[in-house]
Amino acid sequence: MSAQAATVAQAMRPRLPSCTLRTPVMEVARRMQEEGVRAMIVASSGSDLIAGVITDLDLLRAVTEGRSEGMASDIMTLEPPPSVSSSDRLGAAIERLRQSGGELLVVTEGTPARPIGVLSYADIAAYMARR
């Protein structure tokens, strides 16, 4: 089965690599390393609300500018990544990700849409290796 017929659910990472607004920058770096993704979702603690995103380059910028003692809210981009449904076509989602210029998409499920995972370039490459 080709990626054209596959759905997002088949390639997605079934969890949110996330931190809260108050997570220290260095802890964000540690979790990003652990997860093997190039972006972390910044969520409000105790809710599904996504406040923004931090990419690896955001972390690098913070560190080179001497702001590594701050919190996630100091360095994040205040716009949540685009989201797709887990039942969407994988190919369309990949095109969406490429056009967004970001590192990952938030994958949602149900009504109202609840975030259940992400689709990053690492997940797509891993999916392509599996097929």
Partner: protein, 207 residues
């Protein structure tokens, strides 16, 4: 030289003054440029890397491939080759260059990884052909390598009290106290000498 530089790290940010060779991921994974993108994805998975280098039929390095490039060929991973998706002009870092200089180029260009290779002897000589003559690149340097390393260093620095960032602020009162103590000691010593001297002289006639 690099060892001395490491000993002088004042704060997590200080790590970006370290040479690239101390922070890079040593070693590279090479793949044939005519390999399918599917096989490139498998090589990345099997070798646990996020970046591979493509070589041509004469073993010359011709490009770099990351996960984003792999994903670009999602529609036909078996029909598209590594050469078609590779970056033929990646960032290249010299092993002795400070990490901060490479970080600046990464931020400028929006790239998350650089190759680490000895620089060509002259500006004119093509970097790629130089690689062949000077041997393979030494490794890769990714944002994750830099940021992950900073985390380790920050933990070490936090665990060492005499390297804490507040040290500078604590030194000032200590210096002031030492100065006052020294002044008091000097005054007392002076008075003692003066007094004993006076005593000596006033006693002299009595001898």
């Amino acid at each position: 030289m690099s060892v001395l530089a490491a000993d002088r790290i004042p704060a997590p940010e200080g790590a970006i003054t370290r040479p690239v060779r101390d922070v890079m991921r040593a070693g590279v994974v090479l793949i044939d440029a005519d390999m399918s993108v599917r096989d490139v994805a498998r090589a990345m998975r099997d070798r646990g890397v996020r970046t591979v280098l493509a070589i041509d039929i004469s073993s010359e390095l011709i490009g770099m491939i990351d996960e984003r490039a792999v994903a670009g060929a999602w529609a036909d991973p078996d029909g598209v080759t590594a050469a078609e998706v590779m970056d033929p002009d990646p960032l290249i870092a010299a092993p002795d260059e400070p990490v901060g200089a490479v970080a600046a180029r990464m931020l400028e260009t929006g790239r998350s990884a650089a190759l680490v290779a000895h620089p060509p002897p002259t500006e004119e000589s093509g970097v790629w052909s130089e690689w062949k003559e000077r041997g393979m690149p030494l490794g890769t340097l990714s944002v994750a390598d830099i940021v992950g390393r900073l985390d380790d260093l920050a933990a070490v620095i936090r665990a060492t009290p005499n390297r804490s960032a507040t040290q500078g602020r604590r030194v000032a009162p200590l210096v002031a106290l030492a100065t006052i103590l020294l002044a008091v000691v000097l005054v007392v010593a002076f008075l003692f000498i003066y007094a004993s001297g006076t005593h000596h002289y006033t006693n002299r006639p009595g001898l």
